[in-house]
Structures are given as C-alpha cells and as structure tokens.
C-alpha cells in the first residue's frame, strides 16, 4: 500500500513537473517580453498583463488593474478616436494602431497610475484575436511597441538650451521642437505647461535679458547694444523692451548705472 502511494506520488510529481516546465516557459516568455502585453476578454476587461505593462505604464498593482480596467470604457482611447478600430479585433482581424500617444497626466487622472515625470507614452499597438478551438474570439491581446516615452523636463531642457544657443538667430519653432525631439504642437503645448510661457515668449525674454547685459556696457551706444543682440533699434523693439522691462532702454541704462 505504502509503495503504491509512493508510486502514485512519483508519477503525479513527474506529470506535474512536465506540465509545469512547458507552461512555465510559455508564461515566462510572456512575462519577460520587454514590451507591454495586455490580454482582454471580449467585453474589453483586462484579464492578464505582463511585467513590462506594470512597469512601463506605471500600473500600481495587478489587483488595481486586472478585472477593473476596460479598454472600451477608457476615455483616452475614446479621445484618441481608436475605440472602433480596437473593436475590429473582435471580428478576428489583427489591428495596428500607429503613433498611439497616451497623455500620461490623463492616465494619472483616470487610472491612478504611478505619478512620474512622463508627459506622453508613444507606441505602436498591435491588437490580435485569441480564438478558442471553435474559432471564436475568446480573448484579444494588445502589444505595445513603445517608441518613445516623453519625459517633460528633459524635452523642455533641450528646447531651452537650443533657444539659449541660438538666441542671436531669428526664432525657429520647428528647429527648437526638433532639438527637443517633439512635434511643434507637442513641444509648444508642453513648453507652456512647464514654463508658463510660449517658446517664443521664452526666446524674447532671453533675448531681452541679453540686451539688458549689453546696455550696461557703456562702450556701446543703445543702438549698438541692440545691434549686438541682432535687433534693430527702432520703435517696435524699444516698445517691446519697455513692455518687458517697464522702462525704455535708455532709462534702464541710466537707472542701472547710477
């Protein structure tokens, strides 16, 4: 009897180990996949996610997400107008969403993800159906091929640096945004949000600060100080200076040199 039990135990253990190894490998491939994967039931509720999804998206815990998040009720998905495209996966099609730019602040607002210095997560998403043996879509998967994670401060710093390096040249929003690795629209929006001023205003303010330095140099006339900043000394630029500083260039010089 004892031997029979031991044999049964050995056999069971062996079977379990064999099953365990094969499924464990499959599970690990998905878990270790370096891009986020989310698996959904046909009603859009998330059923499983991998480690990269937790870490990249900033989901606080499996419990806060599994069975709770629903892609068809996601306001970001709706706002980006891709809900219908995603639904096509339920007809058995593989769906590609390119340049899915999810604003991270909205993700924090709606889903209580980890608060990090991220502005936008840009990814290409492949949604594909997971049919059962009868060919019915039992689940569907979404793989997020992350293209870029825009971290606000870094991008803004690069933009600011570009303006500082090119303040003598005419303002060029395209080139500044390119230096920050953002589109013009994204950069302008992000810049204003972080600094409170538009990139052009920042450029003007920086230029005026340089002009103020030049005005303190008594070897230069006021016009020469303007010229040194690649500005014409005319009514428009003088007005601009007065609007920004509160006094005219010549008054500023007199006041500063007292």
């Amino acid at each position: 009897m004892k031997e029979q039990i031991e044999d049964a135990q050995r056999s069971l253990t062996k079977s379990f180990q064999s099953l365990f190894t094969e499924h464990e490998l499959l599970a690990k491939v998905i878990e270790c996949f370096p891009y986020p994967i989310q698996i959904f039931t046909p009603d859009g509720t998330v059923r499983m996610i991998n480690k990269a999804a937790l870490e990249t998206i900033g989901i606080r815990s499996l419990e806060s997400h599994i069975g709770k998040y629903n892609v068809f009720q996601d306001p970001i998905v709706r706002a980006l107008g891709v809900e219908d495209q995603v639904r096509q996966v339920l007809t058995g099609k593989t769906v590609q969403l390119t340049d899915f730019n999810a604003p991270y602040q909205d993700m924090i607002r709606y889903f209580n993800v980890v608060d990090r210095d991220i502005q936008t997560i840009s990814s290409d998403i492949t949604c594909f159906p997971l049919p059962n043996a009868d060919g019915e879509v039992e689940y569907f998967a979404a793989v997020f091929i992350i293209k870029k994670i825009y971290r606000g401060k870094e991008e803004i710093s690069r933009g600011k640096q570009y303006i500082k390096d090119h303040w003598l040249e005419p303002f060029d929003l395209s080139a500044t945004a390119k230096a920050a690795c953002l589109s013009k629209a994204q950069f302008a929006k992000l810049f204003k949000k972080h600094t409170g001023v538009t990139p052009h205003e920042y450029y003007i303010n920086y230029k005026i600060s340089k002009l103020k330095e030049k005005l303190l140099d008594t070897n230069l006339t006021v016009a020469q100080a303007f010229a040194a900043c690649n500005m014409d000394y005319n009514g428009h630029s003088a007005k601009l200076f007065k609007r920004k500083v509160g006094v005219s260039p010549s008054v500023y010089r007199k006041m500063s040199l007292k």
Partner: protein, 162 residues
C-alpha cells in the same frame, strides 16, 4: 528526556515549528504558482500561437525549443518540423553582427532591440526559404532572456517585427 531542560526543548520545538511554517509557505507559493499556470495554460499557448509576429525560443546550445505559427508561416516550414532540438541556430550563418552579438550576450541577461536586421531567417538550420513576396519585412527584432527558475537564464527569445 535526557539532559535537556524544558526551555531547551521548547526552543527546539519552536525551531521545528518555524521550519514547518517556512516549508508550508514555500509549498503555498508553489501551489499558487502552479494554480496560476494551470488556470492560464491555454491562454499562454494562445498568446504565443496567435502572436502575429514570428517568435523563436532558443536554448544556450542554440537549438530551438519552440516557435509560433507566424514563425512557421514566415519560414514556410511545417510546425511539426520544429520538434524540440530539430532546428538549430547556425552561428556561422548569422551574417548580421548585431544579431550575432545579441545571441551570445542574451544569456548574460541583456535585452537587445535591433534595427535593419539582415537575412534574419537564414541562420536557422532546416529552413530553406522565407516567404518570398515579403522577404525583408521583418527587419526589426528584439532578443531577450528568459530565466525560468528566476536565477538561471535557460532560454533566449527572438521576436521579429516589421
């Protein structure tokens, strides 16, 4: 009872109890892991099988442990030809330097994101052709490690992407 005092015996009993509790915790953890694997076994297979991009799982000896349907389709090779160990990665046939480096270093735990991969399917033994009309469409690849027992890296995975 011998020479042991009641305090000593209680101490030993506490140690045995602690050991049993630790063992129970380990068993519980294994049981939960196993239950999770059993509950999702079909799902794991589905994800890999229906993944729209070719996936190959390989061992440190460069034999293929597993491929998915997209891989078989792309290489025009029946899935049954990929039985464990039947197909190998032939290192001498890797004509892409970044791929060669990735296959070696993946077992040190590094992940590689490769662009403009050249002839990625030519390095497998037993594969004579790639889907000709689409040759070159999978020019990106990611190679990543899989530590099955959480310590040792037992497999590497390559996923080809458009």
């Amino acid at each position: 009872m011998g020479d042991k005092t009641i305090e000593q015996l209680l101490g030993e009993l506490a140690e045995v109890q602690k050991m049993l509790e630790e063992r129970t915790a380990v068993h519980g953890q294994m049981l939960r892991k196993f239950q999770f694997l059993v509950a999702n076994a079909g799902l794991f297979s589905q994800i890999i099988d229906f993944f729209p991009y070719p996936i190959a799982v390989f061992t440190p000896q460069y034999t293929l442990a597993m491929v998915n349907k997209a891989f078989a389709a792309e290489t025009k090779t029946p899935l049954q030809n990929f039985k464990k160990g039947a197909i190998r990665i032939l290192q001498y046939k890797i004509d892409d330097a970044q791929l060669a480096a990735a296959f070696t270093k993946v077992f040190s735990g590094d992940t590689f994101y490769l662009e403009e991969v050249k002839n990625p399917f030519s390095m497998f033994s037993g594969i004579s052709q790639q889907s000709a009309p689409h040759a070159g469409r999978f020019s990106r690849a990611v190679v990543f490690p899989v530590p099955v027992n959480d310590v040792e890296i037992t497999h590497g995975v390559i996923v080809f992407m458009p």
